[in-house]
C-alpha cells in the first residue's frame, strides 16, 4: 500500500512540473468521481460496520465446524457477504484451521471472500452498471465454489 502512495505522489509531482492545468484537471476528475460514488461508499461503511460487529471467530467456528455440505455452503455464504481485509482474514482463517475447520470449508470461505462482494455490490453497480456487477458476482460465486471443491480434492 505504501509503495502505491509513493508512486502516486511521485506521479503527481512530475505531473505538476509538466503541466499544472492538466494536473488540476486530473485531480478534479478524480474528485468528481469520488463525490458521485460517495452515497454508495456510505452504504458500504454501514453494511461493513453492522456485519463485522455481528461476526466473531467463535460464531464462525460454530458455523464452519464439522463435515458435509452445510459448513461448505456456510463458508461460501459468509465469504461472499463479508468484507474483511486480507491482513485480518488470513490470520482468522489460520485460527479456524488450527481449531479443526476443514480445508474445503476454508477454501470456500477464502475464495468467495476474495472473489465475491455482496457488500460492495451497490458500489460496483455504480461503477460498472447493475447488470454487469450482478453477473460478475453471481458467476464469481459459482467459480469460488468450483475452485474450493477442486482445492479440497487437490490438497487432501
Amino acid at each position: 500500500m505504501i509503495y502505491l502512495a509513493v508512486f502516486t505522489g511521485t506521479a503527481l509531482l512530475l505531473s505538476l512540473v509538466a503541466d499544472r492545468r492538466k494536473t488540476w484537471e486530473g485531480i478534479l476528475f478524480g474528485a468528481r468521481m469520488f463525490l458521485k460514488i460517495l452515497p454508495a461508499l456510505v452504504l458500504m461503511v454501514v453494511a461493513v460496520g453492522l456485519l463485522l460487529s455481528a461476526l466473531n471467530p467463535r460464531f464462525l467456528e460454530s458455523m464452519f465446524g464439522g463435515a458435509g455440505p452445510v459448513p461448505f455452503l456456510a463458508g461460501l455464504a459468509v465469504g461472499a457477504v463479508a468484507l474483511i481485509p486480507g491482513f485480518i482474514a488470513f490470520p482468522l482463517a489460520g485460527l479456524l484451521r488450527s481449531n479443526g475447520v476443514s480445508t474445503a470449508v476454508l477454501a470456500a470461505f477464502v475464495t468467495s471472500l476474495l472473489m465475491v462482494g455482496v457488500v460492495t455490490l451497490p458500489l460496483e453497480s455504480r461503477f460498472f452498471g447493475q447488470k454487469a456487477a450482478l453477473w460478475r458476482n453471481v458467476l464469481s460465486l459459482l467459480a469460488a465454489a468450483v475452485v474450493a471443491l477442486a482445492m479440497s480434492l487437490v490438497l487432501t
Binding site: M1, G26, G30, G94, L114, T120, E124, G129, K131
Partner: protein, 200 residues
C-alpha cells in the same frame, strides 16, 4: 409499490439515513454503556472509514492523472479488443503489483475502460485483482501454507478468466458508465454508448 420518482428519492436518501442510523446507534451506546452493539458498530464503521481514507485518495488521484496523461492508443493497443489473449498477461501483471481491497480497483478498472480496455479485459482485470495481489499472497502463505496458496492461485486463474468472458457475453455492448464525467448533477442511470471528453 411506489412510483418511479419516489423510488429514486428512496435510493438517494437510503445511504445517508443508514449512516445516520449508525451514528445514532453509536451515540446511544455512549449514553447507555450496556448497549455494546452500538459501540461495536460505531467502532467497526470507523475502522472501515480509516481503511478507505488510506486507499481511496491515492486511487482517485492516480485515476485522475491516468485520465489526463495516458494516451488512449497505448491502452487500446495492449488491452483493447485487438490485443486478444495477449492482453491477459498484462492484466495479471497490472493486478498483482497492486494492493488493497477490491473496491480500490473499481476506479482503476473504470479508468482503463475509458481508455479503450475491452469489456472482457476489464472484468478479467477485476478477477485478477481480487485473487492474485502479491501482498495478499504473502499473508496467505504465512497463515495457510504455500500449498493452499498455490492451489488457489492455479485454480482461480482459469476461473476468473472464464468469469470475465461470460460477463462480457452476458452484458453485450457494455460501455463504462458516463456518470463520472457528467457535469455536476448525479445521474442515477448511466447512459450507454458515450465516451467522455478527452476521448475523441
Amino acid at each position: 409499490m411506489k412510483g418511479e420518482k419516489s423510488g429514486i428519492r428512496f435510493k438517494t436518501v437510503l445511504p445517508w439515513a443508514a449512516g445516520g442510523a449508525v451514528l445514532f446507534l453509536w451515540g446511544a451506546s455512549q449514553l447507555w454503556p450496556k448497549f455494546a452493539f452500538g459501540e461495536r458498530v460505531g467502532r467497526s464503521s470507523l475502522e472501515m472509514i480509516r481503511e478507505m481514507a488510506g486507499i481511496l485518495p491515492v486511487m482517485f488521484i492516480l485515476v485522475g492523472l491516468f485520465e489526463v496523461w495516458v494516451p488512449r492508443k497505448s491502452i487500446e493497443r495492449f488491452l483493447g479488443r485487438e490485443a486478444g489473449w495477449k492482453a491477459v498477461p498484462w492484466l495479471i501483471l497490472l493486478a498483482t503489483v497492486q494492493a488493497g481491497p477490491l473496491y480500490g480497483a473499481f476506479p482503476v478498472a473504470l479508468g482503463l475502460a475509458r481508455k479503450g480496455c475491452s469489456p472482457r479485459n476489464v472484468f478479467i482485470y477485476l478477477g485478477a485483482f481480487s485473487t492474485l495481489k502479491i501482498p495478499l499472497l504473502t499473508f496467505e502463505v504465512g497463515f495457510l501454507g504455500w500449498q493452499f496458496s498455490l492451489a488457489r492461485v492455479l485454480l482461480s486463474l482459469p476461473a476468473f478468466i472464464i468469469v470475465g468472458v461470460l460477463v462480457d457475453r452476458l452484458v453485450p455492448g457494455w460501455t463504462p458508465p458516463e456518470f463520472v464525467v457528467s457535469g455536476g448533477k448525479t445521474d442515477l442511470k448511466p447512459k450507454a454508448g458515450q465516451l467522455g471528453r478527452g476521448n475523441p
